[in-house]
């Protein structure tokens, strides 16, 4: 039995992607390639003449990215891959992720103004709350333990300036 046959038999959750979803990836990749080519034009040329300037490599990669992405996009539109399944988003998953990101940004700011131990305790408590932890152990004990371990390991043992 081949590897792909074995993998095909392995049950996978989720469903087949829609056309729009299948084209998002290649579209973003095309934009990325264009971005690389455009940004490469701002790279300074050296005073010493060389056959291959510092722009040559990124421009080549940008063009290659665009061509590959167009190829993948056309293939996805005409003959979509059957071995790709997308694991569906859980209810509230996107909201949780946004809240996690907000907590991370808030932690970044708080760390500048408040002692590491306080900001980390609050950050861990917030994360556990967002991710579904409930009860005093989740909101008090666990954040305290995490903060102590982090401070001991990084602040005291490794002497990182926190």
């Amino acid at each position: 039995m081949s590897v792909s046959a074995i993998e095909a038999e392995t049950p996978q959750s989720g469903g087949e992607a829609t056309l729009l979803h299948r084209l998002v990836g290649p579209a973003v990749a095309v934009v990325t390639g264009l971005g690389i080519v455009l940004l490469a034009q701002a790279v300074d040329e050296p005073n010493v003449a060389t056959s291959f300037s510092p722009r040559w490599w990124p421009v080549s990669l940008g063009v290659l990215t665009i061509l590959l992405s167009l190829g993948v996009g056309i293939k996805e539109a005409v003959r979509p891959s059957t071995n790709e399944t997308v694991e569906s988003t859980a209810r509230g998953g996107a909201l949780k992720l946004m809240l996690v990101l907000a907590a991370v940004i808030a932690y970044g700011f708080l760390w500048y103004y408040v002692d590491f131990r306080v900001s980390t305790f609050l950050f861990v408590a917030a994360l556990v709350l967002i991710l579904g932890g409930r009860g005093w152990r989740a909101w008090l004990l666990f954040p305290a333990l995490c903060m102590i371990v982090l401070y001991a390991l990084f602040g005291l043992l490794l002497k990182v300036p926190l």
């Binding site: 039995m1 081949s2 590897v3 792909s4 074995i6 979803h21 998002v24 990836g25 290649p26 973003v28 990749a29 790279v43 300074d44 040329e45 050296p46 010493v48 060389t50 056959s51 291959f52 510092p54 040559w56 490599w57 990124p58 990669l61 290659l64 990215t65 590959l68 993948v72 293939k75 891959s81 071995n83 790709e84 997308v86 694991e87 988003t89 859980a90 998953g93 949780k96 992720l97 996690v100 991370v104 970044g108 980390t120 950050f123 861990v124 994360l127 556990v128 991710l131 579904g132 932890g133 989740a138 666990f142 995490c146 982090l150 390991l153 990084f154 490794l158 990182v160 300036p161 926190l162």
Partner: protein
């Protein structure tokens, strides 16, 4: 003999032994938690170990590498969830065995198979590393560029899935590697005036983002409350005489497959495990048991995935091409310690081959011992709500990344790559080629430009070694879809023939 004595002598330091013990405990723990990969844990550990001397630091990282490949079998067998990708094939027979009340035998047999695979794989490191490095010293810029292309295309070709998306990921990774100073002229590229980007994207931050943060974000996005409860009835722990005899052949098959796959840059334990399972099934007297609780299937896959470790380290150190994603992180740490992997590595430090082999051997023995301890406590750990695990990973990733260079820019880069990694996962782009492109980009560019400057394209076309390697690289990408198409059409023809025969027999 001097190099052997010197290399092994470095292990006599009690601090190194302590580092191996810490690495073993940490590695077993992270391997046992689904969602915490060996790559993530080695990347995080590298932020601690950078302040240590190279030998103790290597002891921690390599032991985590070995131990994580032992620990990952536990959730694969008890919860049907691989602890790391290398234990995917363990679930095929491990979980069915556990459901039959044979979790104890499964865990014990798997531990011995993993240990056997690791030890045999280390022989490749001990005997092949220095000859391989000596051969690679003959390589010029054209050959080195071809080798880098080989590493990239192998990762894209053997990982399955969409090859086009793999190529895109690899190309974008190469482009990311262009950030920083031009390797030939020293001109700044894509730094936008940010000083921290002059030396390129901080590699550890990118890896932690791509493999750690992206993993957790994806789990937050897709996690449903319903999940397997771990098996808690273990039954008998030790295999009897017949069972012990039964597993010798699949372990032999597994170690052979693992050693070959591990030597291929970028092909890791997951590929080896699956290939070995399939090979052992073909060679077995009882193929019908595979997938339903076969000790042969379990031990073949586990010995194979662990047998890749030694060859993977060999390729990484001798050629400077990472054998898998963990090795990619290790290269980053080695460079910070002032040790440059590649052909000259073993020429200047031959003793390190034996030090590394010794560390991995001791790590294997220690981890085997830990694996054989009763596992009942682990089921409690596996019942831990994911909220705690995700929180620990996120906060450790942030603080750990900051600790590498005391830089907030690194943390920002980690988060950016976290979202890049999440986007890639949700859209079917493999992260491995991007990481490999990031690591190998400067090497690829500098060698390609040098070889073209020296003698133009003829410099590459005229090198038999470079052309051979490049032809193999092209085959790695073009052959899998061709083989798949041929198999599909043969399968369709067979199905049509059967239907015709069935119709003929109904209407004679």
């Amino acid at each position: 003999m001097n190099a052997v004595a010197e290399g092994l002598g470095q292990l006599a330091d009690p601090f190194v032994m302590l580092c191996i013990l810490i690495g073993a405990l940490a590695g077993m723990l992270v391997g046992a938690f689904p969602g915490v990969t060996a790559t993530m844990s080695v990347a995080l550990a590298s932020s601690f170990t950078l302040t240590m001397d190279p030998i103790p630091g290597l002891a921690v990282l390599l032991t985590i590498y070995v131990a994580a490949n032992f620990g990952d079998r536990v959730p694969a067998i008890l919860v049907n969830t691989p602890g790391t990708p290398a234990s995917i094939a363990t679930t095929f027979d491990g979980y069915p065995l556990a459901k039959q009340g044979k979790a104890g035998i499964a865990l014990t047999s798997s531990a011995f198979a993993s240990a056997a695979g690791t030890v045999v794989g280390l022989l490749v490191l001990v005997f092949a590393a220095i000859p391989l490095a000596t051969l690679a010293l003959q390589f010029g810029p054209a050959e080195m560029f071809a080798l880098v292309a080989f590493g990239l295309t192998m990762m894209i070709g053997v990982s399955g899935g969409n090859i086009g998306k793999g190529l895109i990921a690899g190309t974008v990774g190469l482009a990311f590697a262009a950030i920083g100073r031009d390797p030939i002229t020293g001109t700044d590229r894509f730094t936008f005036g940010v000083l921290e980007l002059s030396d390129g994207i901080p590699f550890i931050a990118a890896i932690i983002g791509l493999f750690g943060i992206a993993d957790v974000f994806d789990q937050v996005l897709t996690h449903n409350k319903a999940q397997h409860k771990p098996i808690s009835q273990f039954g008998r722990w030790w295999p009897n005489k017949a069972e012990s005899k039964e597993i010798v052949k699949p372990i032999t098959v597994g170690t052979g497959v693992g050693m070959v796959v591990g030597a291929i840059p970028a092909a890791g334990g997951d590929i080896a495990g699956i290939m070995s399972w399939a090979t052992a099934k073909r060679a077995s007297k009882h193929p019908e048991k595979f997938g339903r609780g076969s000790l042969e299937g379990l031990t073949a896959s586990d010995s194979a995935s662990n047998a890749t470790l030694g060859p993977s380290v060999t390729t990484t150190l001798a050629l400077g091409i990472p054998g898998d994603s963990v090795m990619a992180v290790l290269i980053g740490s080695l460079v910070v310690w002032g040790i440059q992997p590649g052909p000259s590595f073993f020429a200047t430090r031959p003793d390190l081959v034996y030090t590394i082999a010794g560390i991995m051997f001791l790590a294997t023995i220690l981890t085997l011992g830990l694996s054989l301890l009763r596992m009942k406590g682990v089921t409690k750990l596996l019942e831990l709500p994911p909220a705690y695990l995700w929180t620990v990973i996120i906060v450790f990733c942030m603080v750990g990344t900051f600790a590498v260079n005391n830089s907030v820019v690194d943390v920002l880069i980690m988060l950016v790559f976290g979202f890049v990694g999440l986007f890639m996962r949700r859209n079917g782009f493999p992260a491995g080629p991007l990481v490999l492109g990031l690591i190998l980009g400067k090497l690829a560019e500098s060698n390609l430009r040098r070889s073209l400057e020296i003698g133009g394209i003829d410099n590459i076309l005229g090198s038999p070694m470079a052309m051979t390697i490049l032809l193999v690289s092209v085959s790695a990408i073009t052959l899998p879809p061709i083989i798949r198409t041929i198999r599909k059409s043969r399968q369709a023809a067979r199905t049509a023939r059967r239907q015709l025969e069935a119709a003929d027999s109904e209407n004679p």
